[in-house]
Amino acid sequence: MVKRIVVVDDEQPIAELIVQLLEFEGFAVEHCTDSAQAYRQIKEFAPHLVILDLMMPNLDGWAVLEQLQKDHAMRQVRVIICTAFGQEAFRRKKSLNRLDVPVLLKPFDIEDLLRMVHKTIGSP
Protein backbone atom coordinates (compact mmCIF):
# COMPACT_ATOMS: atom_id res chain seq x y z
CA MET A 1 0.00 0.00 0.00
CA VAL A 2 1.28 3.44 -0.94
CA LYS A 3 2.36 5.58 1.98
CA ARG A 4 0.32 8.67 2.67
CA ILE A 5 1.53 12.17 3.48
CA VAL A 6 -0.32 15.34 4.49
CA VAL A 7 1.33 18.70 3.79
CA VAL A 8 0.14 21.53 6.03
CA ASP A 9 1.29 24.92 4.74
CA ASP A 10 -0.74 28.11 4.49
CA GLU A 11 1.20 29.18 1.40
CA GLN A 12 -0.73 27.51 -1.39
CA PRO A 13 2.11 27.51 -3.97
CA ILE A 14 4.54 25.90 -1.49
CA ALA A 15 2.00 23.27 -0.50
CA GLU A 16 1.42 22.50 -4.20
CA LEU A 17 5.16 22.38 -4.84
CA ILE A 18 5.75 19.83 -2.07
CA VAL A 19 2.74 17.80 -3.17
CA GLN A 20 4.02 17.64 -6.76
CA LEU A 21 7.49 16.57 -5.67
CA LEU A 22 6.20 13.84 -3.36
CA GLU A 23 3.55 12.55 -5.79
CA PHE A 24 6.26 12.30 -8.42
CA GLU A 25 8.15 10.11 -5.94
CA GLY A 26 5.11 7.84 -5.67
CA PHE A 27 3.55 8.91 -2.36
CA ALA A 28 -0.17 9.63 -1.92
CA VAL A 29 -0.31 13.24 -0.82
CA GLU A 30 -2.98 15.64 0.40
CA HIS A 31 -2.45 19.23 1.37
CA CYS A 32 -4.14 21.58 3.74
CA THR A 33 -3.65 25.36 3.71
CA ASP A 34 -5.95 26.10 6.65
CA SER A 35 -4.23 24.97 9.82
CA ALA A 36 -7.52 25.10 11.72
CA GLN A 37 -8.71 22.26 9.49
CA ALA A 38 -5.41 20.37 9.60
CA TYR A 39 -6.14 18.10 12.57
CA ARG A 40 -9.47 16.94 11.13
CA GLN A 41 -7.92 16.33 7.71
CA ILE A 42 -5.00 14.43 9.21
CA LYS A 43 -7.40 12.21 11.16
CA GLU A 44 -9.44 11.50 8.03
CA PHE A 45 -6.50 10.76 5.73
CA ALA A 46 -4.57 8.82 8.41
CA PRO A 47 -1.16 9.60 6.92
CA HIS A 48 2.16 8.01 7.72
CA LEU A 49 3.76 11.45 7.71
CA VAL A 50 2.75 15.08 8.19
CA ILE A 51 4.93 17.86 6.80
CA LEU A 52 4.08 20.79 8.96
CA ASP A 53 4.78 24.47 8.41
CA LEU A 54 5.17 26.37 11.67
CA MET A 55 4.22 29.96 10.96
CA MET A 56 0.57 29.87 10.01
CA PRO A 57 -2.40 32.11 10.79
CA ASN A 58 -5.26 30.76 12.95
CA LEU A 59 -3.34 27.85 14.43
CA ASP A 60 0.42 27.59 14.23
CA GLY A 61 2.26 24.38 13.53
CA TRP A 62 3.10 23.83 17.19
CA ALA A 63 -0.57 23.80 18.10
CA VAL A 64 -1.24 21.22 15.39
CA LEU A 65 1.67 19.15 16.68
CA GLU A 66 0.27 19.32 20.22
CA GLN A 67 -3.15 18.19 18.98
CA LEU A 68 -1.50 15.18 17.36
CA GLN A 69 0.44 14.41 20.52
CA LYS A 70 -2.69 14.46 22.66
CA ASP A 71 -4.55 12.04 20.39
CA HIS A 72 -3.49 8.50 21.21
CA ALA A 73 -4.47 7.26 17.75
CA MET A 74 -2.36 9.92 16.09
CA ARG A 75 0.81 9.45 18.11
CA GLN A 76 2.24 7.05 15.55
CA VAL A 77 2.06 9.67 12.80
CA ARG A 78 5.53 10.92 11.96
CA VAL A 79 6.07 14.66 11.58
CA ILE A 80 8.61 16.79 9.71
CA ILE A 81 8.67 20.45 10.64
CA CYS A 82 9.25 22.76 7.70
CA THR A 83 10.17 26.33 8.59
CA ALA A 84 12.25 29.36 7.75
CA PHE A 85 12.86 29.94 11.46
CA GLY A 86 15.33 27.26 12.44
CA GLN A 87 16.46 28.50 15.85
CA GLU A 88 12.90 29.02 17.06
CA ALA A 89 11.97 25.56 15.80
CA PHE A 90 14.82 23.88 17.68
CA ARG A 91 14.02 25.81 20.86
CA ARG A 92 10.32 24.93 20.77
CA LYS A 93 10.74 21.28 19.93
CA LYS A 94 13.10 20.98 22.86
CA SER A 95 10.55 22.60 25.17
CA LEU A 96 7.85 20.25 23.83
CA ASN A 97 10.17 17.31 24.37
CA ARG A 98 9.95 16.44 20.69
CA LEU A 99 13.62 16.34 19.77
CA ASP A 100 12.80 13.36 17.56
CA VAL A 101 10.96 15.60 15.09
CA PRO A 102 13.21 16.51 12.15
CA VAL A 103 13.34 20.12 10.98
CA LEU A 104 13.64 21.09 7.32
CA LEU A 105 14.75 24.65 6.81
CA LYS A 106 13.22 26.82 4.07
CA PRO A 107 14.28 27.41 1.41
CA PHE A 108 15.07 23.73 1.16
CA ASP A 109 16.74 21.79 -1.62
CA ILE A 110 14.54 19.12 -3.20
CA GLU A 111 17.13 16.45 -2.40
CA ASP A 112 17.05 17.42 1.29
CA LEU A 113 13.25 17.16 1.42
CA LEU A 114 13.23 13.76 -0.27
CA ARG A 115 16.10 12.45 1.85
CA MET A 116 14.31 13.50 5.04
CA VAL A 117 11.01 11.96 3.93
CA HIS A 118 12.67 8.67 2.96
CA LYS A 119 14.61 8.60 6.20
CA THR A 120 11.43 9.22 8.22
CA ILE A 121 8.97 6.82 6.54
CA GLY A 122 11.01 4.93 3.96
CA SER A 123 10.05 4.41 0.33
CA PRO A 124 6.53 5.03 -1.03
Binding site: P13, E16, L17, A84, F108
Partner: protein, 160 residues
Protein backbone atom coordinates in the same frame (compact mmCIF):
# COMPACT_ATOMS: atom_id res chain seq x y z
CA UNK B 1 40.29 36.37 -19.90
CA UNK B 2 38.25 33.33 -18.86
CA UNK B 3 37.33 30.44 -21.09
CA UNK B 4 33.95 29.75 -22.63
CA UNK B 5 34.13 26.20 -21.25
CA UNK B 6 32.92 27.54 -17.92
CA UNK B 7 29.80 28.91 -19.60
CA UNK B 8 29.01 25.43 -20.95
CA UNK B 9 29.61 23.93 -17.49
CA UNK B 10 27.26 26.52 -15.99
CA UNK B 11 24.62 25.65 -18.64
CA UNK B 12 24.92 21.96 -17.77
CA UNK B 13 24.40 22.72 -14.07
CA UNK B 14 21.39 24.93 -14.82
CA UNK B 15 19.83 22.15 -16.90
CA UNK B 16 20.53 19.52 -14.27
CA UNK B 17 19.46 21.60 -11.26
CA UNK B 18 16.57 23.42 -12.87
CA UNK B 19 13.94 21.78 -10.64
CA UNK B 20 15.86 22.73 -7.53
CA UNK B 21 16.54 26.30 -8.64
CA UNK B 22 12.85 26.79 -9.41
CA UNK B 23 11.83 25.20 -6.12
CA UNK B 24 14.12 27.46 -4.11
CA UNK B 25 13.09 30.50 -6.15
CA UNK B 26 9.42 29.71 -5.43
CA UNK B 27 10.08 29.41 -1.71
CA UNK B 28 11.73 32.82 -1.77
CA UNK B 29 9.26 34.60 -4.00
CA UNK B 30 6.24 33.61 -1.87
CA UNK B 31 7.87 35.52 0.98
CA UNK B 32 7.89 38.78 -0.97
CA UNK B 33 5.21 41.24 0.05
CA UNK B 34 3.70 41.27 -3.43
CA UNK B 35 3.14 37.52 -3.63
CA UNK B 36 2.32 37.08 0.04
CA UNK B 37 -0.61 39.40 -0.31
CA UNK B 38 -2.01 37.23 -3.12
CA UNK B 39 -3.32 34.15 -1.38
CA UNK B 40 -5.39 33.29 -4.46
CA UNK B 41 -2.41 32.39 -6.62
CA UNK B 42 -1.55 28.79 -7.36
CA UNK B 43 1.90 27.38 -8.07
CA UNK B 44 1.69 27.63 -11.86
CA UNK B 45 0.62 31.26 -11.62
CA UNK B 46 3.47 32.10 -9.27
CA UNK B 47 5.99 30.35 -11.51
CA UNK B 48 4.86 32.29 -14.57
CA UNK B 49 7.49 31.83 -17.29
CA UNK B 50 10.46 31.41 -14.92
CA UNK B 51 11.05 27.74 -15.88
CA UNK B 52 11.05 28.67 -19.58
CA UNK B 53 13.35 31.61 -18.93
CA UNK B 54 15.78 29.39 -17.05
CA UNK B 55 15.86 26.93 -19.95
CA UNK B 56 16.46 29.77 -22.39
CA UNK B 57 19.26 31.18 -20.24
CA UNK B 58 20.93 27.76 -20.10
CA UNK B 59 20.68 27.52 -23.88
CA UNK B 60 22.29 30.91 -24.27
CA UNK B 61 25.14 29.94 -21.93
CA UNK B 62 25.61 26.67 -23.79
CA UNK B 63 25.98 28.43 -27.13
CA UNK B 64 28.53 30.77 -25.58
CA UNK B 65 27.12 33.52 -27.76
CA UNK B 66 28.03 36.28 -25.35
CA UNK B 67 29.44 38.90 -27.66
CA UNK B 68 26.65 41.22 -26.57
CA UNK B 69 25.70 39.99 -23.10
CA UNK B 70 23.61 43.06 -22.36
CA UNK B 71 21.53 42.30 -25.42
CA UNK B 72 19.97 38.89 -24.78
CA UNK B 73 18.87 36.78 -27.75
CA UNK B 74 15.25 36.91 -28.83
CA UNK B 75 14.15 33.68 -27.09
CA UNK B 76 15.50 34.89 -23.72
CA UNK B 77 13.87 38.29 -24.15
CA UNK B 78 10.61 36.62 -25.15
CA UNK B 79 10.53 34.39 -22.05
CA UNK B 80 11.32 37.34 -19.78
CA UNK B 81 8.63 39.38 -21.46
CA UNK B 82 6.14 36.53 -21.13
CA UNK B 83 6.84 36.32 -17.41
CA UNK B 84 6.34 40.07 -17.08
CA UNK B 85 3.06 39.89 -18.98
CA UNK B 86 1.80 37.08 -16.73
CA UNK B 87 2.72 39.11 -13.65
CA UNK B 88 1.10 42.28 -14.96
CA UNK B 89 -2.05 40.34 -15.85
CA UNK B 90 -2.21 39.29 -12.21
CA UNK B 91 -1.97 42.89 -11.08
CA UNK B 92 1.69 42.96 -10.11
CA UNK B 93 3.96 45.91 -10.82
CA UNK B 94 7.19 46.29 -12.72
CA UNK B 95 9.14 46.40 -9.45
CA UNK B 96 7.71 42.99 -8.53
CA UNK B 97 8.79 41.52 -11.86
CA UNK B 98 12.29 42.91 -11.42
CA UNK B 99 12.39 41.45 -7.89
CA UNK B 100 11.50 38.05 -9.39
CA UNK B 101 14.56 38.24 -11.63
CA UNK B 102 16.82 39.39 -8.80
CA UNK B 103 15.79 36.36 -6.77
CA UNK B 104 16.43 34.18 -9.80
CA UNK B 105 19.89 35.70 -10.17
CA UNK B 106 20.68 34.73 -6.57
CA UNK B 107 19.49 31.16 -6.99
CA UNK B 108 21.30 30.70 -10.32
CA UNK B 109 24.54 31.93 -8.81
CA UNK B 110 24.10 29.75 -5.73
CA UNK B 111 23.56 26.70 -7.94
CA UNK B 112 26.57 27.20 -10.17
CA UNK B 113 29.19 28.82 -7.97
CA UNK B 114 30.05 26.05 -5.48
CA UNK B 115 30.48 23.36 -8.10
CA UNK B 116 32.29 25.58 -10.57
CA UNK B 117 34.69 26.84 -7.93
CA UNK B 118 35.76 23.23 -7.51
CA UNK B 119 35.95 22.50 -11.25
CA UNK B 120 37.66 25.69 -12.39
CA UNK B 121 40.62 26.66 -10.29
CA UNK B 122 41.43 29.64 -12.51
CA UNK B 123 39.92 32.74 -10.86
CA UNK B 124 39.71 34.41 -14.26
CA UNK B 125 37.22 31.76 -15.33
CA UNK B 126 35.01 32.41 -12.31
CA UNK B 127 35.25 36.15 -12.86
CA UNK B 128 34.35 35.66 -16.52
CA UNK B 129 31.30 33.56 -15.64
CA UNK B 130 30.19 36.02 -12.97
CA UNK B 131 30.48 38.93 -15.36
CA UNK B 132 28.70 37.16 -18.20
CA UNK B 133 25.87 35.90 -16.00
CA UNK B 134 25.37 39.29 -14.40
CA UNK B 135 25.48 41.09 -17.73
CA UNK B 136 23.02 38.56 -19.14
CA UNK B 137 20.59 39.00 -16.26
CA UNK B 138 21.00 42.77 -16.40
CA UNK B 139 20.13 42.50 -20.07
CA UNK B 140 17.04 40.49 -19.15
CA UNK B 141 16.05 43.11 -16.57
CA UNK B 142 16.51 45.96 -19.02
CA UNK B 143 14.58 44.18 -21.76
CA UNK B 144 11.79 43.39 -19.33
CA UNK B 145 11.56 46.91 -18.00
CA UNK B 146 11.35 48.15 -21.57
CA UNK B 147 8.62 45.62 -22.39
CA UNK B 148 6.66 46.50 -19.25
CA UNK B 149 6.76 50.20 -20.06
CA UNK B 150 5.60 49.47 -23.57
CA UNK B 151 2.76 47.35 -22.24
CA UNK B 152 1.90 50.03 -19.74
CA UNK B 153 1.71 52.66 -22.44
CA UNK B 154 -0.38 50.38 -24.62
CA UNK B 155 -2.84 49.56 -21.88
CA UNK B 156 -2.91 53.09 -20.55
CA UNK B 157 -1.94 51.97 -17.09
CA UNK B 158 -0.40 54.42 -14.69
CA UNK B 159 1.49 54.30 -11.45
CA UNK B 160 4.71 52.59 -12.46
Amino acid sequence: MGSKAILRDAARILDRDQRNIISRWTQRVVKTEAVRSRQDLHLQEVLGAIPLLLTALAGWLRKGDFDEPLNPPEDVRLKARTHAEIRLEHGFHLADVLADFQLLRGEIWRAVCVELYEMHSNPDDILFLGQQLNYALDGVLAATAEACCELSRRKGRAGW
